[in-house]
Symmetry: C2
Subunit: 393 residues, 2 copies
Amino acid sequence: MSRIDTRGESAAEVLISRLLARVGNLGGGLHEPLFAGNEREYVTECIETGYVSSVGSFVTRFEKELALYVGAQHAVAVVNGTSALHLALVAVGVKPGDEVIVPALSFVATASAVALAGATPHFVDVSSETWGIDSTELRAYVSSSLRRDDTRLINKESGRPVTAIVPMHTLGHPCDGEGIKAVAKEFGLAFVEDAAESLGSFAGGRHTGLAGNAGVFSFNGNKTITTGGGGAIVTNDAELAARLRHLSTTAKIPHRFEFDHDAVGYNYRMPNINAALGVAQLEQLPDLVERQRSLHRKYEEALGDITLGSLRSESPGTTSNYWLQAFLLASGLAPQRDDILKACLDAGIPVRPLWRPLNTLTPYLQSPSAPTPVAEDLYSRVVCLPSSASLVP
Amino acid sequence: MSRIDTRGESAAEVLISRLLARVGNLGGGLHEPLFAGNEREYVTECIETGYVSSVGSFVTRFEKELALYVGAQHAVAVVNGTSALHLALVAVGVKPGDEVIVPALSFVATASAVALAGATPHFVDVSSETWGIDSTELRAYVSSSLRRDDTRLINKESGRPVTAIVPMHTLGHPCDGEGIKAVAKEFGLAFVEDAAESLGSFAGGRHTGLAGNAGVFSFNGNKTITTGGGGAIVTNDAELAARLRHLSTTAKIPHRFEFDHDAVGYNYRMPNINAALGVAQLEQLPDLVERQRSLHRKYEEALGDITLGSLRSESPGTTSNYWLQAFLLASGLAPQRDDILKACLDAGIPVRPLWRPLNTLTPYLQSPSAPTPVAEDLYSRVVCLPSSASLVP
């Protein structure tokens, strides 16, 4: 690629002029949903039949079709991605007082779900290659910072049991699920995969969310497909699926008329009207992913030859859903990140940075953490670009 | 009223023949929603504009119109009634390890919400008049079973702090909110009103849900109005409303682009597509309540003169939404309750009993409890009758 002459323009000016000239009308939101299928028809059907709530055929249909798409044996639909993570953690056995390993670089829900389960997030760094947890570094960290106590892993410093790990596939790019699975197995950690951003992303030919005991998806309005608000947990473990399903309701024991409940239920079930939207969206999922991949090629054409930084492209061996397109500024431009974000927003281009590393947020300042230089570096340099599927005709 | 001659018929036969002959087509569900207004239009508007998720004008509109209807200054819409109760308990200051006083007779969510907040439900009995907590008995129980420790109330037996009370308005009939408020104030208890079943019910001219620090509604598919799944918290406390709103999202600090969060957020916000349904339903709420009240008159005509028991009519000084119509079997018929329920179900009449007293459920067997003879008696004798608004033309 040829080095371009920026003729005295600022980094922000170069980015803005390239985006406006070569990507097109960027004036909407950062990631808006696209409803081009049976959304109206299915939702209207809910209203006409009266089945809008947690009893209804669209919930079952959504779960079946989601499971089929990702290649899981079971899927349980719930009210959102946070509730999916929370419930998955509880169902795999995380208890109040435990610690759960999560990446410092993630949307806050990865840590909130741990806190909602009464546990403490224990942060680790991410890899500069995958932007997710790296299994080699994870093994080294776990070996040095945790100790085994009979069958459990204990944080040497806090003395608390470390019982699970929740890697996240950042912006839709799969991290090393298989490697992490091996570490989880070696050290006896439950493994919940935060695939909230990676519906439609594959690693080694397998869909994300299937490496661990359970995988979690989000169908928030800004995701690849949306149910308004929604989430799901997938698993190949029939017993875990039954427990998830039971706890996602009011944990009622089936009976013709008695109200008996054998556990504390979470009432996290997805309503039928949201599932109706989801079934319509799932029908378009292959097209929606293809649009994001086309959009990435458009960004490659627009920004591929500039020296200000590099586009985040899919890692070797993976197929990404490119949920959020991202541009990694060159190291020297980190101090200009905020000015670039502001200039783009002023120019009507909806951009955003990555999330502040979770170990710097007020509620998690006291949480244990490995050093996280890569998370901090990526946070200081990434500009997320407009990623609505409608940007591709 | 004249004593009828049952001519050797069983109690079940008398009830069934009366219901079929005088109430009409009872073949649907126990309490089905009625969509006769702008539901389709508003939901379609969400899909056409792309605003289906947590950002959208219907959420704000639903909150404003709900607050206006009940006469509250603030309303915060969330994913369901359980999440509303859970969030309200957290926001009024309930901490893990606390005890919270709840009625033994309620839908399980009243207790689950306490458990989800990491606290333990402490059960008390209900009144045979209101079917909810009685403030006189409550004062006596609190005075004898709890002790003051500086500013806190302590359960003498468990040693745990008792920090809140959650009365519930059973089947829509208001219990003694004002009396309970006085006890809560006297003993320094936070007061969350479980008005999940009582949207449209008033006591002393004031809507239920406004006596305490916060009141909670449910918009599940079987409620007076529905949003598919949904709930809301109302309050007149501006500071509490702000905290509820903040915690119901991801507790993000407003910023043009940074992702910073100053607390553990619950991600309980109601999606716009569900709120759209809610706005359409709220427009019909006065009519829906009037239908339930007419249905009650129809049941009075059908069952008012029989000696098998009595219909639950509104308590003096209250106006009930008659969410679920209920028939209280005469004491001698308690042993026949199950047979009556089965016979009605076999005849295609959707009935159900009250909930098993919560202090008898597996997850709460170890929870503290006052003696609860009234809850047990009502549970043994109440038959809830078909209550769909569509039963009235």
